[in-house]
């Protein structure tokens, strides 16, 4: 349905159309929000003590605004990190050898584990001011967003189509111009998708990182997370309910105003121009595009951006590339490799000696055993979630109308921070006197099971119509249909979803295996509980031990199980 912008409707219509009004409202709202929220940042820490978090629901909008601002700041940091780190790794073979494996490992370290260590560091950076605590929280959120964005950008940089690359070099584009005219636009669709997934995933950590307590250092930053923490302390179910409601609204707004417009805007950068693919839509983006006022306002920015692109500095032409000649560079590669090995050995020795200072073999054993406990929980949970959601996902995905409705809902559910729902479950467990070891477990997969769902839906929707028609024509039904058509087609997508779900569950275990309701403290036996306990006790050596063990588990499982499964699924079941 196209809404026509009136060219001249006499009078005011010539200057302002309805789109202009909407656009202005949206932008003003954004500016007010930013202004309000930033005002608080520079206040001294003592302010926080004087105005403690209150459970009054009328504070919730302000808390929500602060939470969102933290998220956005972390995203800006993540973008800067992505553009520098990934570009360096893509353009320099030497750097790549170090940076990419590092990124891989960073992706596997549990993020909540990071917080325990970095909080003290950041508090020391800006002592006595709220800023330090904010830094710590923002850094924690940054670590939950940056890695997959960096990976996506790095991969895009390495797969730039060779003809566009040659055209850029042929016309003498400077490296700066080439970066902004070719590399970044080409990477945009994947990058924006990853950005949005990152932001969705990090609501969980935003909420978790606002009430930080490491040993004696405790900070509760004003925000939805600390509101919930306080509600838990006071056993206030109603307050929990208000917080959940607020978060629902916030994520809805984020989805409509940020997620969908950006994904729709990034569609113009899509490289393969297949006709007939329905582009994503967003009403906010349409408003922005059709408003002439916005057009006029952004024109000066657009032209100064163009001038910046063409900037005279850094103009020397890119010299002809040469494929790396292994024999000639052998000596340099060898030296560099030696340096890397030395550095890694040094780092490893540092970590090990630090950890081993206070640790005995029994500690390591405790950590390993609890790791196994958590591992077995996760295996069971992923299996259960798969059994439930894969059939449903396939059913939904093969019916387009239903899929169009379910997909955004599933994405929304995946974004919603599940830790806001924990208190309800925990209060029930306490009230009914259930065994935490069994009943705290489902919390780990509460938020992450949706990844399985929406990936499977996407996979089922992607089954080519012709294959399905062939199935109908040859009367393939029932179990045979599942075995031969549905499951194989969906397998690569399922594996992607399951990898995310499993990684997310490890993270969630740190806040799910230890839970409290008022004075009651519940604890399950597992690695997440171990790390949470050590964080509370402020025992750095054991915190690092716990994190190391968890990272070890994640890395090994990824290498030994998920990655080969993914490669197998890709090879065997990729269509076309």
């Amino acid at each position: 349905m196209r809404l026509n912008v009136p060219i001249s409707v006499g009078g005011w219509g010539r200057f302002f159309t309805r789109w202009d009004v909407l656009a202005v409202l949206l932008i003003l709202g954004l500016l007010v929000f930013l202004g309000e929220a930033s005002r608080h940042l520079l206040q001294p820490l003592s302010e926080l003590q004087r105005e403690p978090i209150s459970l009054d629901p009328r504070n919730l909008p302000e808390y929500a605004a602060r939470t969102t601002l933290r998220m956005l700041l972390a995203m800006v940091l993540s973008l800067i990190f992505t553009f520098t780190y990934a570009t360096l790794a893509a353009k320099s073979k030497q750097a790549e050898r170090l940076l990419i494996p590092m990124l891989d490992i960073l992706q596997s370290v549990p993020i909540l584990g990071f917080i325990s260590i970095t909080v003290v560091f950041f508090m020391a950076l800006a002592p006595g001011r709220v800023l330090g605590a904010e830094f710590a929280a923002i850094f924690a959120i940054f670590t939950s967003q940056a890695w997959n964005m960096a990976f996506s950008f790095y991969q895009s940089l390495r797969t730039v189509p060779s003809e566009l690359d040659e055209a850029s070099r042929n016309f003498g584009l400077s490296p700066w111009m080439r970066f902004w005219r070719l590399d970044v636009p080409f990477a945009m669709p994947q990058l924006i998708w990853n950005m949005m997934m990152s932001m969705s995933g990090s609501w969980f950590f935003v909420v978790a990182s606002e009430a930080i307590s490491v040993g004696n250092t405790t900070i509760t930053l004003p925000g939805v997370g600390s509101y919930i923490a306080l509600a838990i302390e006071h056993r206030d179910l109603a307050a929990v309910g208000y917080a959940i409601l607020t978060m629902l609204v916030v994520i809805l707004i984020y989805d409509q105003v940020l997620f969908r417009p950006l994904v729709a805007w990034a569609d113009r950068f899509r490289f393969e121009q297949e006709p007939g693919v329905v582009p994503p839509e967003s009403w906010v983006l349409d408003v922005m595009r059709r408003s002439r006022l916005i057009d006029r306002l952004t024109e000066p920015f657009a032209s100064s951006w163009r001038r910046l692109l063409i900037a005279g500095w850094w103009k020397e032409a890119v010299p002809a590339k040469r494929e790396a000649r292994p024999p000639q560079h052998g000596w340099i590669t060898f030296q560099w490799a030696a340096v890397l090995v030395a550095l890694t050995a040094l780092a490893l020795w540092q970590v090990v000696s630090f950890v081993l200072q206070d640790i005995s073999v029994s500690d390591v054993l405790t950590a390993a055993l609890s790791g196994l406990a958590t591992f077995s929980r996760i295996v069971v949970l992923i299996a259960l979630a798969s059994i439930i959601w894969v059939p449903i996902g396939v059913w939904v995905g093969t019916r387009r109308q239903v899929a169009n409705f379910v997909q955004p809902v599933a994405q929304f559910l995946a974004a919603f921070p599940a830790n806001l729902l924990f208190p309800i479950a925990v209060s029930a467990i306490v009230a009914l006197r259930l065994d935490p070891n069994i009943w705290l477990s489902p919390l780990m997969i509460l938020g992450t099971q949706w990844y399985i769902l929406f990936n499977v839906v996407a996979g089922a929707a992607a089954i080519p119509a012709e294959l399905r028609a062939a199935g109908v024509n040859f009367r393939v039904r029932g179990l045979l249909w599942w075995r031969r058509i549905a499951l194989p087609a969906v397998l690569p997508y399922y594996v992607t979803g399951a990898i995310t779900a499993s990684g997310g569950s490890w993270n969630a275990s740190i806040v799910a295996e230890v839970a409290s309701w008022g004075d009651e403290h519940l604890q399950a036996y597992g690695l997440g509980a171990y790390i949470a306990q050590q964080t509370e006790a402020g025992d750095f050596h054991r915190i690092v031990l716990g994190i190391a063990v968890m990272s070890f588990f994640v890395v090994v499982i990824n290498r030994v199980f998920w990655r080969p499964l993914y490669l197998y699924a890709e090879r065997k079941f990729r269509i076309g």
């Binding site: 189509p161 003809e163 566009l164 040659e166 055209a167 070099r169 042929n170 016309f171 003498g172 584009l173 400077s174 111009m177 005219r181 070719l182 636009p185 945009m188 113009r268 950068f269 899509r270 490289f271 121009q273 006709p275 692109l309 063409i310 005279g312 103009k315 032409a317 890119v318 010299p319 002809a320 590339k321 040469r322 494929e323 790396a324 000649r325 292994p326 024999p327 065997k572």
Partner: protein, 432 residues
């Protein structure tokens, strides 16, 4: 007296191979481009013509020899050499106008000048009215026009074209070609010389003043043919057809001595390491049947190619395959069936497979080698990697992969041996 725009002397290009050795792609290239000339580089895929073009454009440094442009050696992308690409290479997120302006922006010209020149180029090439369109909204022909406009707008001395019309349908390509020749003839193009790479023989004769014929693996210039016909050229003109025939003959001529590794088109496979053409058994059967049925076993190559809609790049691999299997032969510009070929056409499906297997094992050493190895092993199974490594010693990874795929396809049709892609192994599962 026109000046030499480009002077290439003894150019050699090598690529590093996976095992550390070198793959020779171009050998001993001599080329001189004078002002006001269109030079065509004609050859099959794998003859290194695109590599040569990219070397001229400064996108690849030369392994040996020299490339001199306007008296200066080419060490990198030089101003005044612009390229038009086979798949257009337009930036999907820029409009037509922005795409055309790209080169001018890189030159750092003032905004007003950029806009003026861009609009003039768009007008010249026939894109008026499309300035704010995105490439995804344009057809192939329009996209290539944008590519031309983008190259012309920087007023280059040399225009390099890399198979510019091969991604377009026949009629669109014809329109663009005639437009281009017209503009060139009227002196409306702000360029001094053109080098065009193509695998379409008629296109080369239609457009070029001089044609250089390339052999494959490695790429060498085997002939230079001057085209003195006046523009506009007519395909049906007898001198035109003579030239086309001359080129077909030159490109399918058999070299007297057996080559070491691959060689010019039309040679017979004599070793395990010959690159095999990727031609399906279906296509071979079709060509043989058509030859027997419609041409009584012998046809003039260019005529056959045109009537069966087989362009150079499709026809030469078929001709190679037929000669390799001794089912057909090329002689003096004609393609004809051998006696075995005739037997093949007259046989039923089962007998055809038997004949094919016989020819395959007799004349394609790689197939015989694989089969022998399979027979020698007790469980009659061998991994693909064993043969892949052998091939990779003598050719690039892609060529090795393509050769193995070719021999697998033929062997499957001939039921000489079987292949399982899951386990990546050859076996004698279904021997006849």
């Amino acid at each position: 007296m026109s000046n030499a725009l480009l002077d290439i002397h003894a150019l050699r290009q090598t690529f590093p191979r996976a095992d550390g050795g070198e793959l020779l792609v171009l050998d001993g290239i001599e080329l001189k481009l004078m002002e006001g000339q269109i030079v065509g580089l004609l050859g099959r895929t794998g003859s290194g013509k695109s590599t040569l073009l990219r070397s001229i454009a400064g996108l690849m440094p030369a392994s040996a020899g020299s490339i001199t442009y306007l008296g200066q050696p080419v060490l990198g992308p030089a101003p005044g050499i612009a390229m038009v690409f086979q798949s257009f290479a337009l930036f999907p997120w820029l409009t037509v106008l922005e795409n055309v302006q790209l080169g001018l922006e890189a030159l750092g010209l003032p905004d007003a000048e950029i806009r003026k020149r861009a609009l003039a180029a768009i007008d010249l090439i026939g894109l008026d009215g499309y300035e704010s369109a995105y490439p995804r909204e344009l057809s192939g022909g329009m996209r290539q026009r944008v590519g031309f406009a983008r190259a012309l707008v920087v007023h280059p001395n040399i225009l390099l074209m890399d198979e510019p019309f091969s991604a377009l349908d026949v009629l669109t390509a014809e329109t663009l070609r005639t437009d281009l020749i017209e503009l060139w003839g009227d002196g409306k193009l702000p360029i001094k010389g053109i080098i065009i790479v193509t695998h379409n023989i008629e296109e080369a004769v239609l457009m070029c003043d001089r044609i250089l014929l390339f052999s494959s693996n490695p790429g060498r210039i085997i002939r230079e043919i001057a085209v003195d016909l006046k523009q506009p050229r007519n395909r049906l003109d007898p001198s035109f057809r003579d030239l086309v025939e001359k080129i077909y003959v030159a490109m399918t001529a058999r070299t007297p001595t057996p080559p070491k590794i691959g060689g010019a088109a039309g040679t017979v496979a004599t070793s395990i390491d010959t690159r095999l053409p990727r031609v399906s058994a279906n296509l071979l059967s079709g060509v043989l049947e058509t030859l027997a049925g419609e041409y009584n076993g012998k046809a003039d190559l260019p005529v056959f190619a045109e009537e069966q809609h087989l362009e150079g790049d499709d026809l030469f691999p078929v001709a190679d395959a037929l000669q390799m299997l001794h089912l057909g032969e090329i002689e003096g510009g004609d393609i004809k069936l051998t006696d075995v070929g005739r037997q093949y056409v007259e046989a039923g499906t089962d007998d055809r497979k038997k004949i094919f297997q016989r020819q395959l094992l007799a004349y394609v050493p790689l197939a015989a080698h694989i089969r022998r190895v399979l027979q020698e092993r007790s469980n009659h199974v061998a991994p693909k990697s064993r043969f892949f490594d052998e091939l990779e010693d003598h050719m690039s990874t892609e060529d090795a992969e393509a050769t193995l795929r070719s021999v697998t396809a033929w062997a499957r049709y001939a039921e000489a041996f079987a292949y399982d892609d899951d386990s990546q192994t050859f076996s004698l599962e279904n021997p006849t």
